[in-house]
Amino acid sequence: MKLTVWTYEGPPHVGAMRVATAMRGLHYVLHAPQGDTYADLLFTMIERRDHRPPVSYTTFQARDLGSDTATLFKTSCQDAVERFDPQAIIVGASCTAELIQDDPAGLAETMGLSIPVIPLELPSYQRKENFGADETFYQIVKHLARPQDRTARVTCNILGPTALGFRHRDDVEELTGLLSDLGVNVNVVAPLGATPDDISRLPAAHFNVLLSPETGETAARWLEKNHDQPHTKIVPIGVGATRDFIAEVGDIIQKPLLIDESRLRMPWWSRSVDSTYLTGKRVFLFGDGTHVAAHARIARDEMGFEVVGIGCYNREMARPIRALAKDYGVEALITDDYLEVEAAIEALSPEMILGTQMERHIGKRLGIPCAVISAPVHVQDYPARYSPQVGFEGANVIFDTLIHPLVMGLEEHLLTMFRDDFEFHDAAGPSHHGGHSPLMDQDASGGSFSAKMKDEPLPDNVVWLSDAERELKKIPFFVRGKARRNTETFALEKGLQEISLNTLYEAKAHYAR
């Protein structure tokens, strides 16, 4: 038993959902209680997907337990196949269903369905989300991939991108373009966007590009062993890694590759004088192993930062991250306990964190800027704009991402110089982050300081009575300023001298829409 407040990874069946939701023509029948349907919102809200994940939950209840949850499972299976007409289904159990031991795999097998049924064994009490995705994808590949001839032209598959992945949507596009520039066509991208039929065609490619080792490595190894497809080991995130990746592809296809780097702006952006202030900034890195490893190299070799700490939350990557840390002369932190991460950050007090949404919160609490480089994700990690991490455009994007939380070159000096100016003090934060001035919630009177400075001052013949003032403070700070201004305008219009509790609510009703 372990007390957990926030988790970096969900349970393994959420990993399976990431694969199922990424694919088309596949359906997941999940033996699970009703509350587990919360997982749908990860996809529809965080990733803004416009379709429900292709998952049927059995949603058994306590009263079903004594009787027949197995029949419930079979009915759900049957209904799902009839209603959604998938090319294949995957079946499995969530943590609770694992305990009631209905054996979804065995049950589905006895049903004589005319489509492939792929059973999943995901040990919920030992493993986590990334394992779930990796294992699910592997099972799908193992069940569906068919031996066949290679394509006439040199092609590869891109393996690993899933739903809810960190920038996978754009990484696939960027990588496809990069490969095409190298003269390599993409045979299948999987699981993202692939159908079960596409999976059966995987062995036609000459090799595999492993974009996301966390979610695709087992499948890639299996394909290497059983279908003689080598796979790339370098994830092309960062300038150096992208160049190395190109060389690696050249080795695989046995052809020296030259590429046009004219779209790559990052090296000049990093060398230009405004970036001088980046030199030696002490950074702490934490996230999934793949992104942390890539960003460590970017941080040190391409941004000129000093790496003061490295860690990852997925134990599967503990070994490479330990080796990397050694290389950088720092201690590796392998944990999924955010309190430990927070303690490490507090102790090292870096000037910047490259982390996940969790570290962003830690940074907020400790006053350390943070750029998000890895899952777990938040709705902010799905920008509308094109925003890949891999390849040359990825390197450009990452440069911007890493400097965004920082105060920029000259601005840094100005802030120090004018630190006593009430608007231009160092606590105001970077000027390009309008709404985030920490002063917002510090103004004890309720309004936001800067908003008050900009607005016409309150005419001194209107007074807030104490009960109204008290009520105003109960209003959440982010709407408090507006409430205050509206009420004052209302009082002025009505020619009132005093703002009472009633005035506050009259005004609220007046402006209600």
Partner: protein, 427 residues
């Protein structure tokens, strides 16, 4: 008397109910922890569950509430499943560690989950044992928030019901108001009751444990939330009597609720008018403005919070909408009856869920507004249906007069948004 007029075409209390049993698309009762831990400032909620439970709590909260929240999950691991004797020792250890780190905690709720219930970890026994160890500083109670026992808001019900047996006895004639409300709303309610001369008033849950909520055969209680069926039963077992009333949403609901309480306490008509006239007028004005976009529009409720029936009553009677279907996870006549009486006949009333069938009905009806869970909202929007997320209704102050306009606004915003956006490509 301004009593609400029953609809001329009859209400929905005796309307046939479509009962469905199929895939449900709802949260489990653990979700209630997200608002309960904010309400009870000295309480900690310790879920005994799995990684799924921890993940639900952090995902349903949408954003992480970072200032170390007063909830957590004791995640069961392989070793706990093997032998049960350990689970209790492990729990004792985790609780001791937690309470040492958080001396501000005065009440601890052990919250059961599906896994803890399936493997039969007896949390009642654990709570009793831990209460003895940590008394008098900390009171330990337990309830189930599991998905096999509870649906969404039923978690709050189970939590409050678990507190009823440990409330002190009283023979005083008191009003007990039951249901977690945002503090600002609770203060408004208290001042209305105070102005009416109704008292003493006690609250369940109280903001802190030391407060003097007690119960006995002279207690009368009013519910502010329509999902408190078990708490209702537990209070009746302690001899308290329920004041049945529509729920305090909108002008009409708030007035009817206050009037039921006022009648019970013999408040004069003149006092009632004097106290309620101004806020009623304000509420009506605010509703009129905020509901402009809602008039003549249709609404379809997926079952989520059990707030559906009272809200349908508000939207149809005060905002000029027509209800197509009103789904509720459970319908209790003792709680929902007064609202059903007022809800004009017409809509399909449904209880339980088979989500794919219900989606098919919604698609066929193409309502102007669909009230549903977060998992369904974007997919329905993509099909051109405007939606309102049900969860916002339990996170936002919506009760009583001063919030009536905001409540209408919550529903009208998606429709207003749809009308302001000009994003379609030119023909």
């Amino acid at each position: 008397m301004n009593a609400p007029m029953p609809p001329t075409n009859g209400g929905c209390r005796n309307a046939p109910v479509l009962k469905e049993r199929g895939q449900r698309e709802v949260f489990c009762g653990l979700t209630g922890i997200i608002w309960l831990h904010r309400k009870m400032q000295d309480a900690f909620f310790l879920v005994v569950g799995s990684r799924t439970c921890a993940h639900l709590l952090q995902s349903a909260a949408g954003v992480m509430i970072f200032a170390e929240p007063r909830f957590g999950t004791a995640i069961l691991e392989e070793s706990d499943l093997a032998g049960l004797a350990d689970a209790h020792d492990e729990l004792d250890r985790e609780v001791a560690r937690l309470l040492e780190r958080r001396p501000d905690i005065r009440q601890l709720f052990l919250v059961g989950s599906c896994p803890s219930e399936v493997i039969k970890i007896d949390l009642a026994r654990a709570a009793e044992r831990l209460s003895q160890v940590h008394a008098p500083h900390v009171r330990v109670l337990n309830y189930s928030g599991s998905g096999i026992e509870t649906t969404f808001t039923q978690g709050e019900d189970a939590c409050l019901a678990s507190m009823v047996p440990v409330l002190k006895d009283t023979t005083a004639r008191e009003l007990l108001v039951v249901g977690a409300l945002p503090d600002v709303v609770e203060d408004q309610m208290m001042s209305l009751l105070d102005d009416l001369g109704v008292g003493p008033v006690r609250l369940l849950p109280a903001r802190r444990i030391d407060e003097t909520t007690a119960v006995g055969s002279n207690t009368v209680f009013a519910l502010t939330q329509p999902f408190l069926g078990d708490t209702h039963a537990a209070l009746e077992r302690r001899g308290a009597r329920h004041i049945a009333a529509p729920f305090p949403f909108g002008d009409e609901g708030t007035t009817a609720w206050l009037r039921a309480v006022a009648t019970e306490f013999g408040v004069s008509e003149a006092t009632f008018e004097a106290v309620t006239a101004a806020p009623r007028a304000r509420a009506r004005k605010a509703i009129t403005q905020a509901s402009e976009a809602l008039r003549g529009k249709s609404v379809f409720f997926f079952p989520d919070s059990q707030l559906e029936i009272p809200l349908a009553r508000f939207l149809t009677r005060e905002c000029g909408m027509t209800a197509v279907e009103v789904g509720s996870p459970y319908i209790h006549d003792a709680l929902h009856g007064p609202d059903l009486d007022l809800l004009p006949a017409g809509p399909q009333i449904s209880e339980g869920q088979d989500v794919d069938k219900q989606l098919a009905r919604a698609r066929a009806a193409r309502p102007d507004l669909t009230v549903c869970g977060l998992g369904l909202a974007n997919p329905l929007e993509a099909e051109g249906l405007s939606t309102k997320w049900a969860i916002e209704l339990v996170f936002t102050p919506v009760h009583f007069y001063e919030q009536a306009g905001d409540l209408a606004g919550l529903f009208s915003r998606p429709l207003r948004r749809k009308s302001v956006l000009q994003l379609e490509a030119a023909e």
